[in-house]
């Protein structure tokens, strides 16, 4: 049986690819420290496979063909779209998949009765996945199962659905008929604006009130409050890509709504960086 050993919530700002490099600029030291801390926690947990819950940015899934929630099932996943290589300097790469865990989530003959997942047998991963991997597992030595949730192209799944996904993933991992230590890595945003008037404010959050409340939900394990607080209009008011915060509800729910062992909105030149961790190893779980 597989074992869930930790749940993480991390940022994936693609600009970090070039800016989060030693020697770190003063405003990014804390972000670098948090990624290093989380990487250490991840390896200390013994995780072998990362179930990654993120949102592709219009590259693999576009408006002509947009699944609500889709799960990868492949032996390998290539990394790096041409526009990301050009604009952000992201290097192409590849990471191993874990088909056994994909099958535990998707089923083989029938989907689970609780989720009508899509399935992708081939998937070029974008920066929603490659940025977390580049700082958590820079050698790409842990396998991944990517999951895309549609947080970018409304209508998006309801907040409750993200929580149900977390519940489902916890149970599916526990039932997986393989010996495997698994971590769930969720990625999204605190209050973040892109393309609107509040983007790139030079370190000021577009909505510091939302950030404080959202980090509090994770600190307190306040799942119901988080679901209630993630009203569509509230999230978009906090910044037009803040809908990706919904992925963190999946992480919180996967723990059964426990207080995070680490919850921080880290100030930087960009919007606040989300760092959430739940230690589920040993007696802690």
């Amino acid at each position: 049986m597989a074992e869930l050993v930790g749940v993480f919530g991390v940022p994936h700002n693609p600009l970090l690819w070039e800016t989060l490099r030693a020697p770190y600029p003063d405003d990014l030291v804390r972000t670098a420290e948090n990624f290093a801390r989380f990487s250490e926690l991840l390896y200390d947990s013994g995780a072998e496979t990362l179930v990654m819950v993120g949102s592709d940015h219009f590259r693999k899934f576009f408006y002509d063909n947009s699944p609500a929630i889709i799960v990868g099932k492949a032996e390998r996943y290539p990394i790096g779209y041409p526009n990301e290589i050009r604009t952000f300097g992201i290097e192409p790469g590849e990471v191993a998949g874990d088909v056994a865990i994909s099958e535990a989530i998707l089923g083989t003959k029938l989907l689970p009765d609780s989720f009508d997942f899509g399935m992708a047998n081939e998937w070029l991963l974008d920066h929603a996945y490659s940025i977390p991997l580049s700082f958590l597992t820079p050698n790409h030595d842990l396998a991944v199962v990517p999951i895309h949730t549609n947080c970018n192209m409304p209508p998006v799944p309801a907040p409750q659905r993200f929580a149900q996904l977390g519940d489902y993933l916890r149970d599916a991992i526990a039932r997986a008929p393989v010996e495997r230590k698994v971590a769930i890595v969720t990625t999204g945003h605190l209050a973040t604006d892109l393309g609107g008037p509040k983007q790139f404010l030079g370190g000021a959050s577009p909505d510091a009130e939302f950030d404080a409340e959202a980090v509090g939900w994770m600190q307190d394990g306040a799942l119901e409050a988080a679901i209630a607080g993630c009203d569509f209009d509230r999230l978009v008011t906090a910044g037009n890509v803040t809908l990706q915060f919904l992925n963190f509800l999946t992480g919180l729910a996967a723990t059964g709504g426990r207080p995070a062992t680490w919850a921080e909105g880290t100030a930087s030149r960009y919007a606040a960086m989300s760092f959430f961790h739940w230690d589920l190893t040993g007696d802690a779980w």
């Binding site: 408006y63 526009n83 050009r86 209508p155 892109l194 393309g195 008037p197 037009n240």
Partner: protein, 115 residues
Amino acid sequence: MVSRYEVNKIMAYVDGDPEPLAEFSADPAGFVARWEARAAATHVPSLDAGTLTDEERRAIVELDYGALYAMGSHPYLLIHFARAVECDARGADFATWKEEYREQVKPHGYPDFFT
């Protein structure tokens, strides 16, 4: 509303690969004419072809980011399209240019971007 899809589609296509970015940046009007001609030539939809309204075509060709933002194109796609053309292809300094962009979209607040 469906028309927002067409604007999002051409912006994502231009940003997506080196060839369309170079072609568009060198000749926006010519690129859009070819984009629409491909769509007119077949009933089969494709991600390298589409049809724009007169105002959408004007805004894309003239790189009127304020208008594109106001009509409800997806702001994520808009900023990356704009940055690709202005900074990656034409060499503008991003730090300076992003403030010019902000002034163009600021008057329009936060329009809906449903498709």
